[in-house]
């Protein structure tokens, strides 16, 4: 009953979104048409319908309606209720529904904004958002129905379907298979929603860009009105990636946070283009340049989001061992083809119109350095894309399957990231239009001198790896320059207002949230870079089998094996839990409990490391089952990850900075909207 209700809601949502898309396109040329209001209302109506559908599905999962195929696949009786709730996105069909719901939330909010000044763009924004939404909801309706039920026919065969096959009866399994154990972790619970919120949010700025192209605008209005949407989506995407890294570190048992797995890269690529976009739009708003770049970047972001989710869900990236496919892959393929074609046509049609209003005068200007920024981000993007696509090319042309692993990515993107790091230090102090090297030098020499302390410190501590030293110096250079920027700005303010330094700093940030929030983000990136340098270049590991009382040694740490216990739990796991004592430089620092959880219902194991974290390094120990585990002998694998805590700390600062940058301005009722149009403003199209 509830399943029928839920499915009907999804079908209605499909109808509404299709109706809204078609209708808004029909009246696009005359946006004052009263039908536009109907399209808008239909677009808003999608949200309550999808909310209802999600509610039905979640309710049925929590209440153990195993006659639904999806429910029996992703949940089981042993799971606690909050895990059941998150099982909504635990499988393909449910996660697609969740994705659509999040998109409809964004879309509904956009519909509710004040459209008076952008009436010409409104139909196209509705059309683009609703077309995308209709596609995803359509997937749920046509191929991945979360409300499919299980039936048993007269021959005793279990079949899945929404409607009853002839002569069949509803079949309710006694228990479900249970959520993938790797998903039963707080990090994994929150990682998909954050990621999805990031991905689907980019539909909004993309729709505005398409609208601007479609109506023939060449101004920055679309950027300005969609800025907060872009920033919020980017915030969630960054958070989602960070959480994914942390989850992998905590629970995957590989001692690392990022594996350059194709599916990870598929999620990372939109982040690259959207970060470049966030920077590049500043140039368009300030000097009317980079209009074509910005269009390209947002179109790419949207395309990469769809492409990325296609790669992940269709099985294209897997090998011989891919699952039997539904038609989801081909449908995605068609949708990507159509949307990218339309984007390209609109872009090429408006290419001339998007000419820059000013020219680039010098490389050593803010515009020039931002151009370099775009180029580097594109370079990293292309490197990643090539690595992801090449296995497919290789298999199709030579029949040979290849793996493109971390060595390739590190070698190609490493130098480019280092160059970006350098840019991060130089670009903020470059002036608009032109900067002489001398002027730059005048500003930068003090922070540079200061920053040289850190590689010297590294050298003093025995670091001889030149790449590491260079990276350390780059990171501290940017750190010093960024702090210097804060100091400069606060000093300027202090001179004019007479406040003390701290109040000046606070007001400086408060009144220039975008710029100084951005600088805080840069600080966060620096800290993250420090963490990444530490773990990537200086990680050490060891593995050994020891009996109780014996020890393993790694670096300054000694680990003594105490005991191991094995016991079942209420939620149907068998836990093998070891106790070890960790000593650093001879002193006891921690007692850790690395363990292996075996989930009986899904027959899957999970390794949970014992972790001792300090700012200096992480002592990370895993219980390995290469040999039997007992008091007489247990195998442990220890990783020593220097500086990795800076990665997570940097992540916090990063998020804080994004919140600062995104925080609404209390000054203007329509934040960012200029209060008066200056006379020399030639950008506006009537």
């Amino acid at each position: 009953m509830l399943a029928d209700f839920g499915f009907t809601a999804i079908c209605l949502a499909l109808l509404c979104s299709t109706y809204a898309a078609v209708l808004s396109l029909a009246v696009a040329r005359s946006p004052q048409h009263r039908w536009l209001a109907s399209a808008r209302n239909a677009a808003i109506a999608v949200w309550p319908l999808l909310t209802l559908a999600c509610f039905c599905l979640t309710y049925m999962i929590i209440n153990e309606h195993f006659e639904l195929e999806y429910v029996s696949r992703v949940s089981s009786r042993a799971m606690p209720w909050y895990l059941k709730a998150t099982a909504l996105w635990g499988g393909q069909a449910g996660s697609l529904l969740f994705w659509s719901w999040l998109m409809s939330t964004y879309a509904a909010l956009v519909m509710l904004r004040d459209w008076r000044h952008e009436r010409d763009m409104q139909p196209y924004v509705i059309a683009a958002t609703m077309a995308t939404l209709a596609f995803f909801v359509g997937l749920n309706v046509l191929v991945e129905n979360p409300f499919t039920k299980l039936w048993i026919d007269q021959f005793g065969q279990i079949r899945a379907g929404f409607l009853a096959p002839p002569g069949a009866q509803l079949f309710t399994p006694i228990d479900g298979q249970g959520l993938n154990p790797l998903l039963r972790h707080p990090g994994m619970i929150i990682h998909p929603p954050m990621l999805y919120l990031g991905f689907v949010g980019f539909v909004i700025p993309y729709s505005f860009a398409i609208a601007a192209l479609a109506v023939g605008r060449n101004d920055s209005v679309w950027i300005r009105v969609s800025r907060r949407w872009t920033l919020v989506s980017w915030l969630f995407l960054s958070l989602g990636l960070l959480l994914g890294g942390r989850w992998a570190y905590d629970v995957l048992g590989w001692g690392g946070y990022w594996g350059w797995d194709p599916v990870e890269i598929a999620a990372f690529m939109p982040w690259l283009t959207s970060t470049a976009f966030l920077h590049s739009v500043m140039i368009q708003e300030k000097r009317g340049m980079f209009k074509r770049w910005n269009m390209i970047l947002i179109i790419l972001t949207y395309a990469l989001v769809i492409f990325g989710t296609f790669l992940t869900r269709s099985g294209v990236l897997s090998s011989v061992h891919a699952f039997a496919q539904s038609a989801i892959g081909p449908l995605f393929f068609i949708f990507i083809g159509i949307t990218f074609t339309i984007s390209l046509i609109l872009l090429f049609r408006g290419w001339e119109r998007l000419q820059s209003e000013n020219i680039l005068n010098s490389w050593l200007s803010r515009e020039g350095l931002f151009l370099l920024n775009n180029l580097l981000f594109m370079g990293i993007l292309l490197s990643c894309f090539w690595g992801v696509i090449y296995p497919i090319i290789s298999e199709l042309t030579t029949g040979q399957k290849v793996t493109v692993g971390p060595p390739y990515y590190e070698r190609t993107t490493g130098p480019q990231f280092a160059a970006l790091l350098l840019l991060m230090g130089v670009a903020p102090i470059a002036a608009w239009r032109v900067t002489t090297a001398r002027r730059l030098g005048r500003i930068i020499w003090k922070p540079t001198a200061f920053s040289l302390l850190s590689p010297l410190y590294g050298l003093a501590n025995g670091v001889t790896n030149t790449v590491a030293l260079l990276s350390i110096w780059l990171a501290s250079l940017v750190f010093c320059v960024t702090l210097y920027e804060f100091y400069r700005g606060a000093s300027v303010r202090r001179k004019s207002t007479g406040e003390n330094l701290f109040k000046a700093l606070w007001d400086l940030i408060a009144r220039n949230r975008r710029r100084y929030g951005g600088y805080v983000i840069h600080l966060g990136v620096i800290f993250m870079a420090v963490g990444i340098i530490g773990i990537e270049m200086f990680q050490t590991e060891t593995q050994g089998t020891i009996a109780s009382g014996e020890q393993l040694k790694l670096g300054d740490y000694i680990m003594i094996y105490n005991d191991t216990v094995e016991f079942p739990t209420e939620d149907n796991r068998i836990i093998t839990r070891a106790t070890v004592s960790v000593y650093k430089d001879g002193e006891f620092v921690a007692e850790l409990h690395p363990r292996r959880d075996f989930y009986v219902d899904s027959q899957q194991p999970m390794t949970i490391p014992g972790l001792y974290s300090t700012l200096e390094s992480d002592f990370y120990v895993l219980l390995i089952n290469w040999k039997p585990i007992s008091k007489q002998g247990a195998t442990f694998k220890i990783y020593l990850n220097p500086l990795v805590s800076w990665l997570w700390f940097g992540g916090f600062v990063f998020i804080l900075g994004t919140l600062i940058a995104a925080w609404p301005d209390n000054n203007n009722p329509r934040s960012g909207q200029p209060k008066a149009l200056p006379a020399n403003r030639s950008a506006r199209v009537a």
């Binding site: 269709s314 294209v316 199709l396």
Partner: protein
């Protein structure tokens, strides 16, 4: 992207922006089309199920004893191709049945070939000895044969008719009854 068209009166510069633009657009469309074609083909391949009809892909298997068996050399015979691995639990369920079928049907000129999928030789030999397997078995070097047959796991069994086409496809462990039923139907045609 950040430039304006040079406006020099009276001349049309070579490589005009218009011409450059057209080439650029063509390049973009070309790249996009290439990508879509590649991905499309890959998608198509994924949607193809296991081989269940048509000509059986040819291959040469080098057994653990050093003999070579090329599939096309045995046209006119019924051939049973079985993919297995020593680390595969369910493969053991069918091992005895396969051997028994081999012993009973070899006089009817039926050839059994065991393809060992990504295995280690020691464990493979141990597995063969454990189940007293006497029909030819060899390692699938570079997984060439498995890729040709698009297998999705082990065990899988393909029965090739006398004309060289795939007649029966069994995914998962099989048993003596199923094997003999299939073989009988092919031999009695």
């Amino acid at each position: 992207m950040t430039h304006t068209a040079p406006r020099i009166a009276g001349t049309v510069p070579e490589g005009t922006p218009a011409a450059r633009k057209r080439w650029g657009q063509l390049a973009v469309w070309g790249l996009f089309a290439t990508l879509m074609i590649l991905v499309g083909i890959k998608l198509y391949q994924i949607t193809l199920g296991p081989i269940s009809s048509g000509r059986a892909p040819d291959f040469t298997l080098t057994t653990f004893d050093g003999e070579n068996y090329t599939l096309s050399d045995y046209v006119g015979q019924v051939i049973v191709i079985n993919f297995w691995a020593s680390w595969c639990g369910p493969c053991e369920l069918e091992a005895a049945d396969l051997e028994q079928a081999w012993r009973n049907y070899r006089k009817h000129d039926v050839l059994f070939l065991g393809i060992d999928y990504v295995d280690t030789e020691n464990e493979a030999q141990a597995y063969l000895q454990k189940w007293d397997v006497t029909y030819p078995n060899g390692a699938d070097l570079r997984t060439a044969i498995s890729q040709a047959y698009r297998i999705r796991g082990v065990p899988e069994t393909y029965i090739v008719a006398q004309d060289g086409t795939v007649a029966f496809t069994i995914i998962g462990p099989t048993d003596y009854t199923k094997l003999t039923a299939a073989l009988d139907s092919l031999l009695n045609e």
